[in-house]
């Protein structure tokens, strides 16, 4: 779906502009510092301003009423409110003007509270001057505002859940219960995930498959759920409400519609191969199911091992379920929302020679231990040593193998402490005093309901907990017993303990293939490799791409109840989309001017390459097209476009340049022009205000949605007009950007620009790129202080002189651009 610039008719022929300016006292919050009367008088002098009014509280009902009344009475067609931060009340006032029949996007705010009265209380005169500039900038932008319509896209009321582990199962069941059609895509032969591999669950020691099995059956039977198992995700295109998903079903060589799951084929099959579902401890047949409770209960032939004796065909007989000619099948689905629940993998520490995994026979991982102690496992629930098939009389559990290790996986894997406690309790309860159990740990993390009590239970059973990091494990050649060399932190000395078996609690790591899923779905991954949520606190289930949600351990290691909650939560989030016929999208998006787009004549495609969301499609010899519903409105493409052919609605070049010129009209040498990204730096500056951190009133801020929007021309124009300093502030690298990577694009752009400006004679300190988070109010205040001091140190004359030297070059550069 693409869109031409909306409502161009009113834009090109604005008619008579009638701007109303409403100045808020905010009690004494603003009026206590700033001279409101002076502001009112000043506002009246601004071009196209026909009505100015001050209120005690503009945001209160009477204040809003005054706006509505004035719009009607004075036929206002633009409204500027000078009050608090737009992050606070922009939405409120948009609704107000909308109530009065004005397009909500014909409203602009001047932030004279957080950006002036609150941060410059001891310099009221300068604060007033700054407020004047802020109002002037807002009016300048308001003159160029154009009405925008909220975009609506249709919604397909179906969902795709990727991954059939416990998180995916719950997400699918909840959505299906709400009445939505759900496709549950599973890569392996059966749903169930890691939970189906486990023996018991902590801290209640419920049998894992006994509680998950019924859920799996529910999924298999639910009329609204279609399980697509043994299949791969190939591609996803489209946008919120309208995703097209390509899936490849791998051939099982067994027809789903004919297989009854009786297992007679398995009985006659002569071939066995290591069962990776059993962590390769045991074997399965070349035609088999990975475990008896598999859903769908559908047999699969592994052609890597099958010798094609066709005994299974004979055994299947009249059912005719076996089809050796089956081919991969590609299917296409249309869904409105996607839930990613692809889970995690367990780290196998082959690469860490200290633990001897893979080298010493009696060193196993916890998941292997899980399969050993499981009654349906390859040993029938007996814990046996691989070296001699005997029960060990001493077992050492080693925590944090790979986890909390700066050389491997620095994060905590969340559930290892608890599953080790479960294992030791199981072992102790099974073999009583016949087995000595040691646990080597760094910290025991038992911080949820019933966990600490469970830890207590393990201690009461006589498990030896030794606080200390294991330095290495060695094997005694004859007995194949192991010696654990460790440091006992409580004794403060090195110890050695001999054990007949060692169990390693290895890290939970991103699922193999997570990079592929990330690429297909345009997800971001953190430094740990897990998928990044849109916001760690307030949007823990959302991915950066609208309509795609995350659940369970794909986003970081999680235990079962946490994964279940996330699955249900993600289902609820997806339902907010699926329950609607239409989805509304804010119109602050990028729009390509097909006439200006270079791609028609030469091969360009820079915009498509730089778009963090893959929202721009560029066909050969065709102007670039923005897929409206995928565009998040960061404006990065706008700044990157070499032909200035793209505009961001509500943040057009003309609007931003108008703000910039208004800000630098008077005494530009004394001012710092700052571009602040909406989500981090602007919020950080707001925080400086609300925290009453005082800083010099020399800064003139321009809000952009993302630092990626900051065109190099803005910087050039600012210096051409003689700005004292220019600051571009962004979210922190590498992952804080709310538009995935807009800050990186800005960084690259500005790093190319800065040396050129220095070469032309600009003092390096006059052009700054900084990273300020929404929490760093103090950093913002300190930064402005520092810059103001530097500006003073440079001195007006020097700045002026530099500007004189720069101007002709900059003018030339900007003119050349205009011509094109």
């Amino acid at each position: 779906m693409t869109q031409t610039p909306p409502q161009t008719q009113s834009w090109e022929k604005p008619g008579e502009l009638r701007i109303g300016v409403f100045i808020c006292h905010c009690g004494l919050n603003i009026a206590g510092v700033i001279d409101i009367k002076e502001l009112v008088e000043f506002a009246k002098t601004l071009p196209d301003v026909v009505y100015v009014k001050d209120n005690r509280y503009t945001c209160a009902d009477p204040g809003q009423d005054e706006i509505r009344k004035a719009i009607k009475e004075y036929k206002l067609n633009r409204v500027v409110v000078a009050a608090c931060s737009p992050r606070m009340h922009e939405v409120t006032f948009r609704r107000t003007v909308s109530d009065a029949g004005l397009n909500p996007y014909l409203f602009e705010m001047a932030n004279i509270r957080e950006f002036s009265s609150w941060c410059h209380p001891s310099t009221p005169k300068e604060a007033t001057e700054k407020a004047k500039d802020l109002i002037k900038m807002a009016v300048a932008k308001a003159r160029l505002l154009i009405p925008l319509q909220t975009i609506e896209v249709p919604v397909t009321n179906k969902a795709l859940v990727i991954g059939g582990g416990i998180a995916g199962i719950n997400a699918a069941l909840d959505l299906a219960e709400m009445g939505f059609k759900v496709y549950l895509l599973e890569k392996s032969e059966s749903i169930g995930g890691h939970m189906a591999q486990l023996d018991k669950t902590f801290p209640t020691l419920d049998c894992s498959i006994c509680i998950e099995g019924p859920k799996m059956v529910d999924v298999g039977r639910h009329p609204n759920i279609e399980i697509i198992s043994y299949a791969d995700l190939i591609s996803v295109s489209g946008y919120i409400g309208n995703f097209r998903v390509k899936i490849r079903k791998n051939p099982r060589y067994v027809k789903a519609e004919n297989c009854t799951g009786c297992g007679e084929c398995k009985d006659v099959c002569p071939i066995e191969y290591p069962n990776d579902w059993d962590m390769d401890l045991g074997v399965r047949k070349a035609i088999s199911v990975p475990f008896d409770q598999a859903v769908p209960l559908l047999y699969t032939i592994n052609k890597d091992y099958c010798i094609e004796c066709f005994k299974c065909v004979d055994a299947c007989g009249e059912r005719r379920a076996i089809d050796f000619e089956q081919k991969p099948e590609d299917i296409e689905l249309e869904v409105g929302a996607i839930i990613v629940a692809t889970g995690y993998d367990i780290y196998l520490p082959y690469d860490n020679s200290l633990y001897g995994y893979g080298k010493y026979t009696n060193v196993i991982t916890s998941l292997e231990f899980e399969r050993l102690i499981l009654a349906a496992g390859p040993t029938g629930g007996k814990v046996l040593r691989a070296s001699d098939g005997k029960k060990p009389h001493s077992v050492a559990f080693i925590q944090c193998v790979g986890s909390r290790d700066i050389n491997k996986y620095p994060y905590c894997s969340n559930f290892c402490c608890m599953y080790t406690l479960k294992h030791v309790v199981q072992l102790k309860e099974k073999y009583k005093d016949d087995v000595e159990v040691y646990v080597f740990y760094m910290d025991m993390r038992t911080n949820f309901k019933g966990f600490e009590e469970f830890y207590q239970r393990a201690r009461e059973l006589g498990v030896n907990f030794i606080r200390g990091r294991v330095s290495r494990i060695t094997e005694i050649p004859g007995t194949k017993n192991l010696v654990i060399h460790a440091e006992d932190a409580n004794l403060g000395m090195p110890i050695e303990i001999e054990a007949e078996m060692v169990v390693l609690a290895t890290a939970a790591i991103p699922k193999k293939g997570a990079d592929e899923v990330a690429r297909i779905l345009n997800l971001t991954r953190g430094a740990d490799g897990f998928f990044m949520e849109s916001h760690p606190k307030l949007k823990p289930l959302d991915s950066p791409t609208d309509g795609i949600f995350l659940a369970g351990a794909c986003q970081g290691p999680k235990d079962i109840p946490y994964s279940v909650s996330q699955g249900c939560g993600a289902a609820a989030r997806a339902a907010t989309i699926l329950s609607k016929q239409k989805w509304k999208i804010e119109p602050i998006i990028a729009v390509v001017d097909p006439v200006k787009c270079r791609n028609v004549t030469v091969k360009c495609g820079i915009c498509a390459e730089r778009c963090p969301y893959g929202a721009i499609k560029v066909a050969e010899k065709q102007p670039a097209q923005v897929i409206t519903a995928m565009c998040h409105g960061c404006g990065t493409c706008v700044a990157e476009c070499p032909a200035d052919a793209i505009q961001q609605m509500h943040f057009t070049d003309a609007q931003i340049l108008a703000q910039l010129r208004a800000a630098l009209e008077k005494d530009p040498e004394d001012k710092i022009l700052a571009f602040l990204c909406n989500w981090c730096s602007y919020a950080g500056a707001d925080l400086a205000g609300t925290s009453r951190f005082e800083y010099p009133p020399v800064i003139r801020p321009i809000r952009v949605m993302c630092s990626g929007r900051v065109d190099r021309d803005f910087v050039l124009e600012a210096f051409r007009l003689g700005a004292g300093m220019v600051l571009v502030a962004a979210c922190h690298l590498p992952y804080d950007c709310h538009y995935i990577s807009g800050n990186w694009k800005m960084k690259a752009r500005m790093e190319a620009l800065a040396p050129m400006l220095h070469k032309l004679g600009l003092s390096p300190e006059r052009f700054r790129v900084e990273y300020i988070s929404a929490a760093e109010g103090i950093k913002f205040a300190e930064l402005i202080k520092e810059m103001a001091e530097q500006m003073q140190a440079l001195g007006r004359e020097r700045i002026k002189a530099e500007n004189e030297k720069l101007r002709p070059v900059l003018e030339n550069m900007l003119k050349r651009k205009e011509k094109r």
Binding site: G282, C309, A386
Partner: protein, 312 residues
């Protein structure tokens, strides 16, 4: 314990292993028995076995091809074990010689039909023992009390008359070449070959002076150097159609080997049909399948008639 896969080679053996926590799969190729024939490589359903030509040894004689097994492809099904005419390959599970393909009737056992009427053996005749090219025959004498004779010469002539002759053939390693049958002076041995076929050496293509095939042929007497044309000729009477010669013949087409039938126990198996096709030819395979299906038709008719009889 995580899965361990191993491949070890010594002068005597080639060993492949899957070591699982609870199970151990092992394939052992005994190089003392291996003659470098092509049977296993053709029979393997996973194409895991490859033959490798070796350079001539220092005495100028050709060496038989070397069998190499790919650990990634091998699934320890044991078909090579079943098919090796020389019994050089053993597949074991937990150190027991278990062949699932045979037990589940997914693959037929080869029929090694060697019958010796040792009751009528001439006293102290060891012709067959001497004749066996692979030294698989052991003749021993049993006293009336059932004990084996340790030293024949220590016995008196009278005592010798009471002895029973026991001819023990190591069938496991016997390729059924029939040499013993022909060498038995009293015609007491009856051998049926495992493989039937045709073998021809094309004199035009066969390079002069080359006798590589003769060097590697495991059955002395199956190939011979003709005095007349100084070239190697085939005595099909003894040829076991193993293809050791074909595997190393330096000239393409000089040696024509076709297997036409393989003696095997009756089974219905796709794996067998494929192996048969690779070992013989599609034509021979279809012949066997036709024979089987007509036999099946006969069985069905017989069964129905029987049923009728009962009803009538």
């Amino acid at each position: 314990m995580p899965l361990k896969t191993l491949k070890k080679e010594t002068a005597e053996t080639l060993t492949l292993e899957w070591i699982l926590h609870v199970k151990n799969y092992r394939l052992t190729l005994n190089k003392n028995f291996c003659v470098g024939c092509e049977i296993c490589s053709l029979a393997c359903p996973k194409e895991a076995i490859k033959l490798e030509k070796l350079p001539k040894s220092t005495n100028g004689k050709a060496q038989h091809a070397k069998v190499d097994i790919n650990l990634e492809k091998c699934n320890f099904c044991g078909i090579c074990d079943v098919m090796c005419p020389f019994g050089a390959i053993k597949v074991t599970v937990n150190n027991e010689h278990v062949l699932n393909v045979i037990e589940k009737e997914s693959f037929p056992q080869l029929i090694r039909d060697v019958q010796i009427n040792s009751a009528n053996c001439a006293p102290e005749c060891v012709d067959c023992e001497k004749a066996c090219p692979l030294n698989l025959i052991k003749i021993s004498y049993i006293k009336p009390d059932g004990r084996f004779v340790e030293d024949l010469k220590s016995l008196t002539t009278l005592e010798r008359e009471w002895l029973r002759v026991d001819v023990n053939v190591d069938k496991e390693h016997c390729p059924c070449c029939r040499i013993c049958e022909f060498k038995c002076p009293k015609g007491l041995i009856h051998v049926r070959k495992i493989f039937y076929g045709r073998m021809k050496i094309n004199p035009e293509k066969c390079p002069e002076g080359c006798k590589d095939c003769l060097d590697v042929c495991p059955i002395s007497g199956a190939l011979y150097l003709s005095e007349a044309d100084k070239k190697v000729h085939v005595n099909e009477l003894f040829c076991v159609y193993c293809g050791a010669c074909k595997a190393i013949c330096p000239v393409n087409g000089a040696l024509e080997l076709k297997r036409t039938r393989i003696m095997h126990a009756p089974v219905r198996s796709g794996a067998w049909n494929k192996a048969l096709e690779r070992l013989t030819s599609p034509l021979e395979t279809s012949k066997e399948l036709k024979a089987k299906s007509s036999q099946k038709a006969v069985d069905v008719v017989e069964r129905r008639l029987k049923w009728k009889e009962v009803v009538v």
